[in-house]
């Protein structure tokens, strides 16, 4: 397994957010974690990327424990975190945002090659390279957030709610992009409220409820599951 999360619990200033979260991500897989608002999806991602220290449990990446490492060390290992709400550096240009994305030593050497790749994937960003990120449209901003994550040359790309706040047409576009990145062999951990679309592109998926992973299955299995259909698809 590339990434293994074992029974982690985490809290914010003593208020528990995760109780018992476990899942695995294999090389080249697209894994989705679905769950409603407040289920702990973002907290799970933040814990993996080192922004939050778990209270209990282990996170194992390529055979060694990474829980408790500072965020920059975890990024250095190739775990990229595309945060919820995009969190771009609005006053920097598109290009400068991308260059901040290749901060780590592992990415810096390949920076130019990576820029080329990212600009091929997102031609719009190339056109707007010298524009301030804050002036992009919502869809373009999300593209930039993903591109900035790719600049790390990640081993795993973790996407936190990439479709949040986007118009339906743009949501499709984002999911197509994610599909394309996955086809190129990228391992993806996707956290989404958009249950149907994310289950459709997932190899495997986990359901997170009040800080606990309650069930898992392939994307198709969960799409067909009575519980998921009732709780998350409103069927």
């Amino acid at each position: 397994m590339l990434l293994e999360v074992r029974h982690i619990a985490a809290s914010y200033d003593g208020v528990p957010a995760l109780h018992d979260v476990s899942f695995t991500v294999g090389e080249g897989e697209v894994i989705t974690i679905i769950g409603s608002n407040g289920a702990g999806k973002t907290t799970t991602i933040r814990t993996i990327s080192g922004l939050l220290r778990p209270d209990r449990g282990e996170i194992i990446f390529r055979g060694s424990r990474i829980d408790g490492l500072p965020a920059h060390r975890i990024a250095e290992l190739g775990i990229a975190h595309v945060p919820e709400g995009r969190r771009l550096f609005n006053r920097l240009t598109v290009l400068q945002n991308l260059l901040v994305g290749s901060f780590s030593r592992r990415a810096r050497a390949q920076e130019q090659a990576m820029l080329e790749r990212v600009f091929t994937l997102f031609p719009r960003l190339k056109e707007r390279a010298h524009q301030r990120a804050g002036t992009l449209s919502g869809g373009e901003q999300q593209m930039l957030a993903i591109a900035r994550g790719l600049m790390l040359q990640p081993v795993i790309l973790m996407l936190d709610e990439p479709s949040l706040g986007l118009a339906p047409r743009l949501v499709d576009e984002i999911f197509n992009t994610i599909r394309q990145i996955a086809r190129e062999g990228m391992t993806i951990l996707l956290v989404e409220q958009n249950v149907r679309e994310s289950l459709e592109i997932a190899d495997r998926a986990y359901v997170l409820q009040t800080g606990t992973t309650i069930t898992e299955g392939t994307g198709t299995e969960l799409l067909a599951s009575e519980m998921v259909r009732r709780a998350y698809l409103g069927l």
Binding site: L51, L52, R87, F89, V100, F103, R132
Partner: protein, 362 residues
């Protein structure tokens, strides 16, 4: 700097204007022809350099320091002690002071950078007050009485000396040295703003959590910023000590000085290269002139005017005087950089200068 500004920066008009400005600045001592006016010019340069040094930390990294006077004072004291006790040339003392201040800043920054927003600013005040108190009570450095810098003498009479960085007959060299310091710290600022360090610092200022999520080593870059800021503040401190030839903790480390340094940069335009320079050029003469014309009457008219000016700039130019410059320049070109709605959004975003970001946890 935005790319747009960098692009305009290479236009011929800009270079011509810069050339003219250089000529005026070089000729200024000849134009002023009075020691009191030259004194104001030197003070403008001193504050410009201090505000520019502050800008590296406060403007680019977004860490509002209200304790930079401590770094200034450490520079003044280090060179003065080295000179008065061991006759080390103040030029070497300047480098020594920069080193002392940078090391001190890193030691202080390591714990204090865990605090964010207002709490960081408050911690820097406390830091400077502690340094001030220590120097007030420390016999070795002269305590509250302060230190006199011995005259450089030739035939027993105070003389001008480049080696001792002292000009007792003519004040002009002080002006040119101060000008060189401003150029130096501005050049470093430009270098930083165009380098990746500058992007990282602005990314940290913009959204520290996001920068961390991308793997930016936030603490390391904040420490780089505070070390640079402290080192240049200290260099100016040495210059100031050699200019006044007397230092005490109150003149070199008091809170008002820290506040004034921040104020000059903020009113000029935070995070821009020209902002602190413009701020100093406007604020310092205003302070000096209101004091010399209206001060001493006991009714504080000078302070009222001075305070009024600050209030006016804050209300009408929340982005500082540089905001005004940008607006005029954009109008001159007949087209906005970006659609107005976006520009407004960005202005709103910039407005809370002391805004707190989501703090680090765990």
């Amino acid at each position: 700097m935005t790319t747009a500004t960098v692009r305009t920066g290479t236009r011929p008009v800009f270079w011509v204007a810069l050339g003219l400005l250089a000529v005026v600045l070089l000729a200024l001592p000849l134009i002023l022809r009075s020691d009191s006016r030259l004194n104001i010019a030197i003070l403008v340069l001193v504050y410009a350099a201090l505000a520019q040094a502050w800008n590296l930390l406060g403007g680019f990294a977004g860490q509002i320091s209200l304790g930079n006077a401590a770094f200034f004072g450490l520079g003044a004291y280090t060179s003065t002690i080295l000179f008065s006790r061991w006759e080390v040339t103040p030029w070497l003392g300047m480098l020594g002071g920069a080193l002392v201040a940078a090391v001190f800043a890193v030691i202080i920054g390591y714990p204090v950078f865990r605090l964010g927003g207002h709490y960081f600013a408050i911690a820097t005040i406390a830091m400077a007050e502690i340094v001030l108190t220590v120097f007030n009570d420390w016999e070795f450095v002269g305590g509250a009485v302060g230190l006199l810098i011995p005259f450089a003498r030739v035939d027993g009479r105070p003389a001008d000396s480049w080696y001792y960085l002292q000009f007792n007959q003519h004040k002009e060299p002080y002006y040119y040295i101060a000008l060189a310091l401003v150029v130096l710290v501005t050049a470093v600022t430009i270098g930083v703003s165009r380098s990746k360090v500058g992007y990282y610092l602005r990314a940290i200022k913009n959204d520290q959590q996001a920068a961390r999520a991308l793997g930016v080593h936030v603490l390391r870059y904040k420490l780089i910023a505070i070390a640079l800021s402290a080192a240049f503040s200290a260099i100016v401190g040495t210059f100031y000590a050699q200019y006044l030839l007397y230092i005490d903790p109150e003149t070199t480390m008091r809170l008002e000085l820290s506040v004034l340094i921040a104020l000059v940069a903020i009113l000029g335009g935070v995070g821009t290269v020209a902002g602190p320079l413009i701020g100093a050029a406007v604020l310092i003469p205003a302070a000096e002139l209101t004091r010399s014309q209206l001060g001493g009457t006991g009714n504080a008219v000078d302070l009222i005017l001075y305070g009024g000016l600050i209030i006016l700039i804050s209300i009408f130019q929340p982005n500082g005087l540089m905001g005004l410059v940008e607006r005029v320049r954009r109008r001159g070109r007949g087209r906005p950089l970006t659609p107005p709605s976006d520009e407004e959004a960005l202005a709103r975003e910039e407005a809370p200068l002391l805004g707190t970001y989501e703090e680090e946890r765990g």
